[in-house]
């Protein structure tokens, strides 16, 4: 049984799914901090700003955990090296993806947004 491979898979799947949820607005549950409402409904503006961050963390971490359990069956001699690379390469790729997606905050004018 491989040990490092499942942990590398966890890091990779967690980061990719987490950020994909953000980019593609996959937010089945929203938190409205003004009234502490946790709901699947899209509440009116009077409910204040909605937060999806906690939902993305739960979806990402659960996806990573499930993928890691599946990856646990990979033999140690096959998975260890791949796990070592996965543990930093995919998160680094996701960081570059984040910088690319979020660049509009820094390089576009307010009018363009």
């Amino acid at each position: 049984m491989s040990r490092l491979f499942p942990l590398g898979v966890f890091a990779a799947v967690f980061t990719v799914i987490y950020y994909a949820c953000f980019v593609f607005s996959i937010t089945p549950v929203r938190f409205y901090p003004l009234n502490y409402d946790i709901t699947t409904a899209d509440l009116p503006r009077t409910a204040g700003p909605a937060m999806g961050w906690y939902t993305w963390i739960v979806i990402g971490s659960m996806s990573g955990a499930i993928a890691a359990v599946v990856a646990y069956i990979v033999p140690k001699n096959v998975g260890e090296k791949a796990g070592a690379y996965l543990s930093w390469m995919i998160p680094l790729g996701v960081v570059i993806w984040m910088l690319w997606v979020e660049k509009h905050w820094f390089f576009e004018t307010a009018a363009a947004q």
Partner: protein, 153 residues
């Protein structure tokens, strides 16, 4: 209560920045170095002794950040948006995402330091540690700048 949480969040972040920076510098040491000067001592730090502290500090800091986050959304983010301070809003978006990248890497980071012999997967250990260090520094600096622009109080 929120004031206490913010101060604790900041204090934990300071400890975390110190620990991960020491470790990230030390992990790139390629040959034995005498501990004569400050910088030589810095490079000679025993990275493995920092691992558990870093994992615990990271988790505590992230949880406290998660607790104060709604107050930022309610009290700060709207003001920044109204003032068209897009760079500040974008910087915080990166902070919230980078914090999660670091969190996701913690299990493999811990395993690489604690369970893998020091001679194996050296480059992966170096890059895991350095990437987490970069996440911590970015979130730390952004948090402080935003708090200087407009705190939650």
């Amino acid at each position: 209560m929120i004031f206490t949480m913010m101060i604790l969040h900041g204090m934990m972040a300071v400890f975390l920045v110190g620990a991960i920076t020491h470790q990230a510098i030390g992990v790139w040491k390629t040959k034995p170095v005498p501990s004569g000067t400050f910088f030589q001592s810095l490079v000679n730090v025993r990275g493995m002794t920092y691992v558990n502290a870093i994992v615990i500090l990271y988790c505590i800091t992230a949880i406290l950040g998660g607790v104060v986050y709604p107050f930022y959304v309610l009290d700060v983010k709207g003001s920044l948006t109204d003032a068209q301070m897009n760079e500040a809003v974008g910087a915080f978006e990166l902070k919230e995402h980078f914090a999660i990248v670091g969190l996701a890497m913690l299990p493999s980071y811990w395993y690489l330091w604690k369970k893998v012999p020091a001679t194996e997967f050296r480059r992966s250990r170096q890059l895991n540690t350095t990437l987490i260090c970069a996440m911590v520094w970015t979130t730390f600096v952004v948090g402080h700048i935003l708090n200087n622009i407009k705190g939650v109080m």
